[in-house]
Amino acid sequence: MKKIYTCIICPGGCEIETEIKDKRILSLTGNTCDKGADYVRQEVTAPARTIATSVRVKGGVLPLASVRLTRPIPKDMILSVMEQIKKISLTAPVLSGTVILKGVCGLDSDVITTRNVRAVSE
C-alpha cells in the first residue's frame, strides 16, 4: 500500500512517500533528513506523541505551572496520561525541570515542570 506521511518533526513538514506491507516499510522517499525516516518508522508501527499541559499550584504568584512529557508516548495513551496529570497539584515555589510524575501510566516518559513559579511570600 502506498501512503504519504507528513513529517511532524520540524516545520519543513516533508511529505514522505512510502510503500507499506503488513506494517513493514518497503520503500521510503522524500525525507530530507534521518529524523524523517525515524518518524515514519515509528508512525507505521506505533505512533507516538508528546503532550503539554499545566498543573495547579498552591501559594504561587501564578495559579499554574506548565508541564510536558520527557519522551513521546503511544498516541492512544494521551487521554489516560492527561487524567493522571490532572490529579497533580503542586505547592509553590516550583522549579522548572522538576520531575513530578516518573514513568507516567507505566510508560517510559516522565512529566516535568517547564516553568518557575515563585511563592507569593517570596
Binding site: 520540524c10 516545520p11 513538514g13 499541559t53 499545566s54 499554574l64 508541564v67 510536558r68 525541570g97 516553568r115
Partner: protein, 410 residues
C-alpha cells in the same frame, strides 16, 4: 533623564536575544522595557513543545525556551523593567514609558524595536453579526487556559488555520472541550503541516478550506455561527450557508506586527509585512532605530526570531560604537509569487540573509533573485508554502552592479 546606549522595547524572545548579544559585543549599558509583569513575551503562554530544535537541539516548551534566555539576562545582570509600557518613541531616540512608579523618560543612543505582533481581531476581520461573549482570538483563549487557569469554552468552532488556532484546537480538546471544526477562508492552510497532523488529524478535527464565518449569533453568550463557502475571490457564496451551534468562536486568522509606536515615531512601514522597512543592518528609516523579530515580520519559528535579533544586535553595537553602517541604496522588490522580503534595502557590498514568504503554495519551483535580466541567485525548491518562512544568504560577490533586486517564484 536616564541615558542608555541601547533601549530595547519588548522583553520577549527578540528583545532578550538582542540584549544578550549586545552585551556579548561589549555594549553593556542596556535597558529592556517590558509591559507585562514577567519577561518572556508570548512564549510564556505557549506551553506546547517544539521550540528550540535549532538552537538547543531539543524540543522545549515556550516557557523553557524563554527561561534559558532570562537566566542569562539575570546572570549578566542586564537591567530590565517589567510592568513598564512604552508610550512614545521620538525620532531623536527619546523614550517615554509608564509604570506603577510613574513616568520614565530615557534617552538612548540606539532604540531596538522588539514589540512582537498582535492577532487579527474580530473587528479587523469584519465579521458581521451580533456581539455576544464567547468570541476570542486564539491567543486570548491560550492566555485564559495556560496562564490564568480558566476554561473558556465547551463547544468550539475555530476560524482560521493559523498555528495558534490549531494548537488551541488540541489544547481545548485535551481539556475536555469539543472542537467541531476549523474553517479557513483561503484555499490553503495558514499554519504548518505538522500542526495539521498533530493538532487536528490526531484528534479527528476536520479542516475546511475556502470557508468562512458569515454570521455570529447570540445574546449574552454566543449560541452559534453561520459558515459559508467562499469563491476564488474569497467572497461568500449565497446559498451555501450552514448553521453550527457553539458557545465559543476562536479566531486564528493572522498575526500583524505591532507597530503603533514605530509608526508614531515616524518609522516607514512596509504595507506587506506591516513591519518597518529595514536595510541589511535591520535599521529602519530612522537612523539608530532597529527592528527584529515579529515586530519586523511574522516568523514561523522562535529560533529564527532569536537569530535575527542577534544579527540586529551586531549591527546596533557597531552603530553605538560610532561605526558608519554601509549605506543601503539597492531596493529589493517582491516579484511574482513572493509575499514580502526582509530586508527591503541592501548595500550590495556585504553578504546578507534574505527572509521571505511566498504568497501561495508552489511545487517543484525555483526562488530566483535577479538584477535586471541577470540571475543573481537561484534555488530549486520541492515545495514552498506561505506558512513557512524561507531564508537564504546572498553573497556580496553575487551582486555585481548597483541596481535593484527582484525576488520571484518561477
Amino acid at each position: 533623564m536616564e541615558q542608555k546606549d541601547a533601549v530595547i522595547i519588548g522583553g520577549g524572545p527578540a528583545g532578550l536575544a538582542a540584549a544578550l548579544e549586545l552585551y556579548f559585543q561589549g555594549i553593556q549599558d542596556i535597558l529592556i522595557l517590558e509591559r507585562e509583569d514577567h519577561l518572556g513575551g508570548i512564549l510564556r503562554q505557549c506551553i506546547h513543545d517544539g521550540f528550540g530544535l535549532g538552537r538547543f537541539k531539543k524540543s522545549l516548551s515556550g516557557p523553557e525556551y524563554a527561561q534559558a534566555f532570562i537566566d542569562e539576562i539575570e546572570k549578566y545582570k542586564i537591567s530590565y523593567r517589567t510592568g513598564t509600557a512604552v508610550m512614545e518613541v521620538s525620532e531623536d531616540h527619546r523614550i517615554t514609558a509608564i509604570s506603577r512608579e510613574g513616568v520614565i523618560v530615557c534617552q538612548a543612543r540606539s532604540v531596538i524595536l522588539a514589540m512582537g505582533c498582535k492577532e487579527r481581531s474580530r473587528g479587523a476581520l469584519g465579521i458581521p453579526g451580533e456581539r455576544p461573549a464567547g468570541v476570542f482570538t486564539a491567543g486570548t483563549a491560550q492566555a485564559y487556559m495556560n496562564l490564568y487557569n480558566r476554561m473558556p469554552a465547551k463547544e468550539v468552532i475555530i476560524l482560521g488555520s493559523g498555528d495558534i488556532g490549531m494548537i488551541m484546537a488540541r489544547r481545548l480538546t485535551l481539556e475536555g472541550a469539543h472542537v467541531q471544526a476549523v474553517f479557513e477562508i483561503m484555499p490553503h492552510p495558514g499554519g504548518l503541516p505538522r500542526n495539521i497532523i498533530q493538532c487536528l488529524e490526531d484528534y479527528h478535527i476536520p479542516l475546511y478550506l475556502s470557508h468562512t464565518v458569515t454570521g455570529i449569533h447570540g445574546d449574552s453568550r454566543l449560541t452559534g455561527v453561520t459558515i459559508s463557502r467562499v469563491d476564488e475571490r474569497l467572497r461568500p457564496i449565497p446559498g451555501t450557508e450552514k448553521e453550527y451551534a457553539c458557545d465559543t468562536l476562536i479566531l486564528s486568522a493572522g498575526l500583524i506586527p505591532d507597530n503603533q509606536l514605530s509608526a508614531e515615531a515616524g518609522v516607514v512601514l512596509d504595507p506587506h509585512t506591516k513591519g518597518a522597512v529595514v536595510d541589511e543592518h535591520y535599521q529602519t528609516s530612522i537612523p539608530g532605530v532597529f527592528a527584529a523579530g515579529n515586530v519586523l515580520h511574522v516568523h514561523d519559528l522562535v529560533d529564527f526570531v532569536s537569530i535575527e535579533a542577534e544579527a540586529l544586535a551586531s549591527e546596533a553595537a557597531a552603530y553605538i560604537r560610532g561605526v558608519e553602517l554601509a549605506p543601503c541604496q539597492l531596493e529589493i522588490r517582491a516579484g511574482k509569487g513572493i509575499g514580502h522580503t526582509i530586508p527591503q534595502r541592501v548595500s550590495g557590498k556585504k553578504d546578507f540573509l534574505l527572509s521571505l514568504r511566498v504568497g501561495s503554495p508552489y511545487k517543484d519551483c525555483s526562488i530566483v533573485v535577479r538584477q535586471g535580466d541577470r540571475v543573481v541567485w537561484r534555488r530549486k525548491m520541492k515545495k514552498v508554502i506561505p506558512a513557512e518562512m524561507i531564508q537564504f544568504t546572498i553573497k556580496a560577490e553575487q551582486i555585481q552592479k548597483q541596481e535593484e533586486l527582484e525576488v520571484s517564484v518561477e
